[in-house]
Symmetry: C2
Subunit: 359 residues, 2 copies
Amino acid sequence: MEPISFARGIPAPECLPVEELADCARAVIERDGRTVLSYGSAGGYAPLREWIAERHGVEPARILLTNGSLQGFVFLAQHFAGAKVLVERPTYDRPLKILRGLGVDVVALPMDEEGLDPDALDRELRSGPSPAFLYTIPTFQNPTGRTLSLDRRRRVVELAHDHDLLVLEDDPYGLVRFEGESQPTLFELAGGDHVVYSSSFSKTVAPGVRVGYFVLPNELERELEALAVSTYITPALIGQATVHEFLRRGSFEPNLERVRNLLRIRRDAMLDALERDLGDEAKWNRPEGGYFLWLELPDETDTRELLGRAEAAGVTFVPGADFGGAPASARLAYSFVAPEEVGEGVRRLAALVEQPVAA
Amino acid sequence: MEPISFARGIPAPECLPVEELADCARAVIERDGRTVLSYGSAGGYAPLREWIAERHGVEPARILLTNGSLQGFVFLAQHFAGAKVLVERPTYDRPLKILRGLGVDVVALPMDEEGLDPDALDRELRSGPSPAFLYTIPTFQNPTGRTLSLDRRRRVVELAHDHDLLVLEDDPYGLVRFEGESQPTLFELAGGDHVVYSSSFSKTVAPGVRVGYFVLPNELERELEALAVSTYITPALIGQATVHEFLRRGSFEPNLERVRNLLRIRRDAMLDALERDLGDEAKWNRPEGGYFLWLELPDETDTRELLGRAEAAGVTFVPGADFGGAPASARLAYSFVAPEEVGEGVRRLAALVEQPVAA
């Protein structure tokens, strides 16, 4: 039996604009090969830095392009190694692992349906020693799919200002909204003050281009760029230049619209199947974008235990505890699986939830 | 006045096979886009791992592809953080910086015209605590351009065997030999035992593809691949796939022949100019490949001081002390500059060497 993956937080193959990226790569290497194929700035491909800078209303020197945004997070974490960092509970597991590996004191703040709890943030800022930064994914969060409400966004930005707190806003999913009203980013609300903004082209163009970016204060950009030089001399420019060519041709918005539709169809299939098969047993949210939703099973459930049985039954997910969440929670990714397989995957999962554990 | 750079250890623009790499990128993305444009193995693009594995007579699982070989060196250094590491004096400055940043105890061993001194290695291995590894660039070394003699290669391999010493053989330049007989690698002489082999396609195809690779024992490969996952999830596959397409088409050898010729012309121009303008004042070697030669000026010279005046006079180089070398030494790269400018660059440099420093 082919396993159905609600574990893989990656785009479905049909999301990837293969033909067009192939031509963009060819075109930009032909046009600018002596730049793209040699060593260059550790900050990344200049035309793409300029495009991103304009989009965010800053100088290009404040943009750092990295081999995927996780690599940039590593540089930031290295810069603040040994300090205290605030995160959401639950949160994306890879940054957690990086922080812990660098001896960072990680303090997890509670969140609910509206995202990070600003009262808890306020209490932490008043009580504990000053953190190096707050790491937050305010829109379509990984793993929960939750989005910070506008009121809370304003509160977080105020708190950052009042307590001189640096906020790292990780926003890879914000543009893949397929429903509802866009929220302003923390970066926008703060006028760029106290907020480092991070995103990538993994969800809007393709993960394989490996283009993450950070909008940083000038001095921090220089410091992280020095770490980049010492790590890989120059990031992979071919992917960056290919993305720039894709943008230059005006392909970004139409592709984004296409990707949003593909994701909405998948989310809808998952919501329908959950309602049909787990409506009595479980709770979940209805994200208006992104890749994930957050499933909460009856309290006595241990989703790590459930996963073993699920894999045997041909369906996978990631237990919530892997992200610091409750034992009964799970991250379901609807991004990867074909819409016609979603129902079968949920059916397999539901059959296990309802079935008592073998003694 | 346009500065003439003997500092930049990068290929001349005409070394880059721009048109063909543009077409390789297009072709491989079209053919294998769903792999190349998505997340994938942290170890790198499977067909390229297979090609390299076959070349070195090992299993593909022992090959780790990284975003340039320096990134792989970072993983290896992280793995051995806090240990003792042996290096050559002088040696490539970037690894030195990485090792020191990780709290490694760096012990520099002397070398001469024939490369690393195996007697010094022997003494160190008998006296000090066991090092985590020896870092060596045996062929056309950066910065000296020196090549370890065959006898010494055998000695180093014997010592590695006798003392259970891990040797990291960094060999980015070995294939860009334009004269003389190829030497067996330490990896070959050791039958793969006790030697980690590292190279890249930066000098044979293009630096901008950012494809470094390591041939590792199985367990070490798995450990470094885990570090790669935690750092960037997946390396930049487009460059790796483009290189594989270039290899698959049979373009590698003809391109290498072309690049060797371009480099030989530059080396010859530099040797001629040095003989003409610095024959009485300085010593240098005659590398049979690679990018660099090692200039030794009269003992009283301080090439860091000289560099300031050289920059003002329109010529640059890297002082030997930057690599742990003597104050009177300098690395001259002939790889980048146009052959017709080499003479003028050496003339500018020679004029300063002969001219007493202003009081």
